[in-house]
Amino acid sequence: MRDGMVGAWPICLGYVPIGMALGVLARQAGLTPFDIGLMSLLVFAGSAQFICVAMIGEGASALSIILTTFVINFRHVLMSSSLAPHLYGVRRSFLALFAYGVTDESYAINMTRFRQGGWDHWRALVLHHSANTTWFVASVTGALAGSLIPQGAFGLDFALPAMFLALLVYQFQNRIHIITALIAAVVSVTCYLTIPGDGFAVIAAIVAATCGYLLQRRRDRGRGA
C-alpha cells in the first residue's frame, strides 16, 4: 500500500496544477464543480477532458466529443498491451478494475517499477487510485476555488515533463533503446507538425518500436552467425 502511494508522488505533484487548471476551464465553460468531478471519475483521462471542456464551450455535439475522446485515448491500447505480460495470470476482475487507472503517467511509473522488480499488481493498483484521487480532488478544487496556485508557481508545470524524462532514461537498457527513443522523438514531432489531430504518439510509438525490434533482431542474428 505504502509503496504504491509513495510511487505515485511525482504524478500527484504534477496532477495538482493540471487538474486545477481543468477545473477552472470547466467552470468557464459552464460546468459546475459537481459536473467536472463526475467527469474526472467516469472519464479519467487528462488530455481528453481538456479537449472535452473546450468542445463543450464551443457547443460541439456529444458524438464528436466522444469520437475525439476515443482517438485521443487510443494510445492506451499500446500501453495496456505492453503491461499485459507483467500481469500474466492475474484475475480478470482485478484487471478490469486495474484498467480504469491506466494513464500515460501511471503507465510510465508502473512499467519502470515492474522491470526494476519488487513491484506487483497490488502496488500498481494503489498507484492508480492515488493518482485518480489526486486528479479528482484537484479538478473539483479548481472548479470550486479557481486557481489557488498562481500560474507557473514553483515550476509545477514542469513536474510531469521532468518525470517523463527521468522515466525515459530508465528505459535505456542498451544502445538500441536509445536509438528507438530518438526515432520516436523525430517521428512524433514530424507527425505532430504535419498531421492534424492526435495520432502522433501512436504512430511514432509503433514506428519506433518496430525499428527497435528489427534492429535487435538483426543484432541477435549477427551474434548468432
Binding site: V43, I65, S80, R92, P161, A166, L167, V189, A209
Partner: protein
C-alpha cells in the same frame, strides 16, 4: 447542453476511454504471447514515452509549429543530463521544476 445529455456524453466518453485500456489487458494477460510479440512490446515503453514528451519540447502547441529554444527544451536538456547521472526519479522532478521556475523568473 442539458443534464441527461451531459450524462450520456460522460458515459460515452467513459466507455471509449475504458475500453481501449481494458480489452488488451483482459485478452492478453491470460495467454502466453509469442516471443516476437513480447520483444516488440518491450520497445513500446521507450518509444511511447519519447513520443509523448518530444512535441512538448520542440514545438509551440498553440500554433503547432516547430520551435527550438523554448524554455521547456532549455530546461529539459540539463534535466535529462541530471536524470542520466543520478538515475533518481524524485531528484529529477525537483531539479526540473526548480530550473523551470528559475527560467520563468529570468525570462520575465
Amino acid at each position: 447542453m442539458n443534464y441527461p445529455d451531459y450524462l450520456y456524453l460522460l458515459i460515452g466518453m467513459g466507455v471509449v476511454t475504458y475500453g481501449p485500456r481494458m480489452l488488451p489487458l483482459v485478452v492478453l494477460a491470460n495467454r502466453k504471447l509469442p516471443q516476437g510479440v513480447i520483444d516488440w512490446l518491450n520497445f513500446i515503453p521507450v518509444a511511447i514515452l519519447s513520443a509523448l514528451v518530444a512535441p512538448g519540447l520542440f514545438t509551440e502547441s498553440t500554433s503547432r509549429s516547430f520551435a527550438l529554444g523554448r524554455l521547456e527544451l532549455l530546461v529539459a536538456i540539463p534535466t535529462l543530463v541530471f536524470a542520466l547521472k543520478t538515475r533518481s526519479l524524485g531528484g529529477t522532478v525537483v531539479f526540473g521544476m526548480f530550473l523551470y521556475w528559475l527560467g520563468g523568473i529570468l525570462i520575465t
